[in-house]
């Protein structure tokens, strides 16, 4: 994209192109974060309303109250920004931004469809997890800097809980990485193209188990109920954000909702086929139309698929939140260390054995070859550029990568086309 912009302005390989490309990507992602948070908070209200036999917002913005969050946002911005006397002023003020920045940064490496990613990172899985892990800092900072005992309790709990849950979460994420042989999220997503039987969650029983544990740990990792101990209302007043008000308070929520979406989207890429629907309609349409337009249409459908899957994940989290009581801190830790970690380890060992023994997968049972890498990804216009950077050792068939390279070689023609919206990895 940077090259494309530079080509338009005819300034060669200039930094201006990269800057503009980065800005475009940043603004697009900011929209996903901000509009996503608006949508999710509205959704949470409506869903909790339905679960609790009430209506939820009905007035602001028409019949369904979908502008309620915006109205609340305006109210929050208008509120006084109070810093308590006892607070560490600098840390207190900076804490919400740290959280928002962390969950926002995780979107950088998150592919919304094949090639629709702000920045191609070959170790995207690692990057997303590492950056999301930084979010815990904001909670700890907020709790420590507030100068309130309840906030301190929230921070202590958060530190204990989130750091513990990183362990099983990482072990669960390793399974798809191991099966696909790459840490590149785009490649992992593309390897699950085709029918839903190709999704990694149906690969073998162990990946199914791993997917469930991943979702549990992800819920705990982003502090959602029943693991929302850091802000346990009935115990800690409001936990780490007790002393916050106004916009700073709402930034915590934006961070929470966007990381909810990140972990759900990550789950759908790692286990549930990423941007590929259960039936490859988008792929089929893309092939039928063919060429650049076909590719773009299939990409748009792919983005829709991923957003939908992410939304489903978020909805499930909301459903859980409004149904279950909260766990106690020792039970949360017990669940992590006694159940999640061993089960994740079992899933890892089982999936490895399954791969090693080459046992049948759901996909091979329905007669498809395993990880059919579709024609579209290997020929002509679009490539999975990262594949050449990370030699995917786990893929049974190494030929596609050869084709990748050849395709990459003559992709100069592609770069001049105005189709690669947020395509990365080419610079």
């Amino acid at each position: 994209m940077a090259d494309f912009i530079n080509n338009i302005f005819g300034i060669g390989d200039s930094w201006v192109g990269y800057l503009i490309a980065a800005l475009i990507a940043a603004v697009l992602i900011l929209h996903v974060v901000a509009v996503g948070a608006l949508l999710f908070i509205w959704m949470e209200r409506k869903i909790s309303g339905r679960i609790q036999d009430r209506l939820g917002p009905t007035r602001v913005g028409g019949k369904y109250g979908w502008l309620q969050t915006l109205a609340d946002g305006i109210k929050l911005i208008a509120k006084e920004d109070i810093t308590p006397d006892l607070a560490d002023r600098f840390l207190f003020k900076i804490a919400p931004y740290v959280g928002l920045a962390a969950s926002y940064a995780a979107f950088i490496a998150l592919p919304f469809a094949d090639g629709v990613v702000a920045q191609h990172v070959n170790t995207a899985v690692f990057f997303v997890l590492a950056v999301l892990g930084l979010e815990v800092f904001s909670v700890i900072l907020a709790g420590y800097a507030s100068g309130s005992k309840w906030s301190l309790f929230g921070a202590m709990r958060e530190a204990a809980q989130v750091v513990s849950y990183e362990v099983p979460l990482g072990m669960c994420v390793v399974v798809p990485v191991m099966i696909c042989g790459t840490m590149n999220l785009t490649t992992i997503g593309n390897m699950q193209a085709g029918l839903f039987t190709n999704w990694l969650v149906f690969n073998d029983p162990f990946t199914f188990l791993t997917a469930i544990i991943y979702f549990t740990c992800a819920t705990a990792g982003v502090n959602r109920a029943p693991f929302d101990l850091a802000e346990a209302e009935s115990e800690l007043v409001a936990g780490f954000h007790t002393e916050y008000s106004g916009l700073r308070w709402s930034l915590f929520f934006m961070a929470e909702y966007s990381s909810m979406f990140v972990v759900s989207a990550l789950a759908s890429i790692l286990f549930f086929g990423g941007s590929h629907g259960p039936i490859p309609v988008g792929q089929w349409i893309g092939e039928t139309i063919g060429g650049t337009w076909g590719l773009n249409i299939s990409r748009i459908i792919g983005v829709g698929n991923l957003l939908l899957k992410g939304l489903i994940g978020v909805t499930v989290m909301m459903w859980i939140r409004w149904t279950f009581p909260r766990l106690r801190i020792d039970q949360v830790m017990t669940m992590c260390l006694k159940y999640c970690v061993p089960l994740a380890a079992l899933g890892f060992i089982g999936a490895t054995t399954w791969q090693y023994l080459d046992l049948p997968t759901a996909n091979s049972l329905v007669g498809n070859p395993r990880y059919e890498k579709h024609e579209m990804w290997t020929e002509g216009v679009e490539v999975t550029p990262a594949a050449d950077a990370s030699p995917a050792s786990g893929i049974p068939d190494p030929e596609p990568h050869q084709e990748d390279k050849t395709a990459n070689a003559d992709s100069v023609t592609v770069k001049t086309l105005p189709v690669s919206v947020v395509k990365g990895g080419e610079r």
């Binding site: 609790q52 009430r54 202590m156 149904t323 279950f324 009581p325 909260r326």
Partner: protein, 412 residues
């Protein structure tokens, strides 16, 4: 401190000891049910000591009662246990009737059973809902309130108020039930019976709920009796005591001819009375007691309340039939300036939270010489400190919530 007696439950063994921290929980705190203030001594997440502080809602109700006539004080009883105002009205009415040696007509007796048991259901629904809230589950709270709202609608129809009713008065009630009220009540009960299993699914049998409450805050029967606990808190510890059975004759004769169970586990077997109450042809089964639950823990206290709701439904159904079958007067409320004889009377009734006692001394004037209320929540709250030693911070809402205290009743 570490060298003190080992059997002192406040001494917790640690690998690493940290500094202790004193925290005020309340009077402004989401889970202290009003304005209870608990001073916690914590070591990390572990709470070694809890000290409840009272008096934030003290309104001199008793002193006011010594300056008003018996009927004028009725609204003040409403404001004691504001979640079961009907039962407070009943307690005061009965003690004045005892003082005046007034006997209620048959129809008024059944009316009182209907109303006070409805009040019990409403109160237990709030107790159930807020207990869910204390444990971080918001939905059962609204389910409980949804059903309570229907009861409040019925109450509103009967007396015009939704929270502070002042409906039952010495001598009967301010008015008879409106025409068609019993049908609506029956309709509500039929609908409500189907909701009860839903509430059991959401809380009683929910595994997270069980793990949060079972085995927490275990109170032995002896301790419950020693501290003067009453109501579901006492019965949750396996003490078979319900004033509707074991109370004064003047009170128990109100329930004469009614069939219902006292919900209390047999301390020998740990079993609750069989659910022999039927509706829609099926018996309303009680959910099973989880393995982890110990008699006297938070789960049992909660369970007793849930089952009592069923018994109240059963009582109301009988009461409606009896009420409709009897004709005549529902009682005549005493005069506003009724002279009280120079005698004293004390009477305890089984309010939803326990035994609510009223004491009144007359001196021949219409204004009583002395008024005193014995609050059940006050005694129930007194076990907080011994129960909350060496527990986790999150257990405090679980324990205090299971005692189901209402500060209005404690401070008066």
């Amino acid at each position: 401190m570490a060298t003190s007696k080992i059997d002192d439950p406040r001494v917790i063994e640690f690998d690493v000891r940290t500094d202790e921290m004193l925290i005020n929980m309340g009077p402004q705190h989401p889970s202290t049910h009003g304005v209870l203030r608990l001073v916690l001594r914590t070591d990390g997440e572990v709470v070694s000591d809890v000290e409840p502080h009272l008096g934030y809602l003290h309104r001199c109700a008793e002193k006011i009662g010594e300056n008003l006539t018996a009927r004028q004080w009725i609204p003040y009883t409403d404001r004691m246990d504001y979640l079961a105002a009907m039962n407070m009205n009943l307690g005061w009415s009965l003690v004045i009737e005892k003082l005046l040696e007034y006997d209620l007509p048959e129809r008024g007796r059944h009316l009182r059973v209907i109303i006070s048991e409805m009040g019990r259901i409403a109160s237990h629904l709030v107790a159930m809902g807020t207990y869910g809230l204390d444990l971080g589950s918001f939905t059962p709270f609204l389910y409980g309130f949804r059903e309570r709202e229907k009861i409040l609608n019925l109450f509103e129809e009967a007396c015009g108020a939704r929270l502070t009713y002042s409906y039952l008065t010495p001598g009967g009630a301010t008015a008879d039930l409106p025409v068609g009220w019993t049908d609506k009540c029956r309709q509500f009960l039929n609908q409500f019976k189907e909701v009860i299993p839903e509430l059991h699914t959401l809380l009683t049998t929910n595994s997270i709920f069980v793990s949060r409450t079972a085995g927490i805050g275990v109170m032995s029967a002896k301790m419950a009796v020693d501290y003067g606990c009453t109501g579901p808190v006492l019965r949750g510890s396996g003490v078979y005591h319900d004033l509707r059975f074991h109370g004064e004759e003047r009170y128990t004769e109100m329930y004469e001819g009614y069939v219902f169970d006292v919900i209390c586990a047999d301390p020998e077997t740990g079993k609750y009375p069989e659910s022999n109450y039927e509706f829609h042809g099926d018996s309303l089964d009680y959910p099973e007691i989880p393995r982890q639950a110990i008699l006297g823990d938070c789960w049992h206290r909660f369970y007793v309340r849930m089952l009592e709701v069923v018994q109240s439904v059963r009582l109301i159904e009988q009461a409606i039939e009896k009420y409709e079958a009897t004709s005549g007067d529902w009682g005549t409320p005493i005069k506003l300036v009724q002279k009280l004889p120079a005698k004293e009377a004390y009477m305890e009734t089984e309010a939803p939270r326990g035994q609510m006692g009223f004491y009144v001394v007359g001196n021949g004037d219409s204004i009583p010489w002395r008024v005193r209320a014995r609050s059940s929540s006050f005694c129930n709250l007194s076990v907080t400190a011994p129960l909350c030693q060496g527990i986790l911070l999150a257990d405090i809402p679980a324990i205090v919530g299971s005692l189901d205290v209402v500060m209005g009743e404690i401070d008066r």
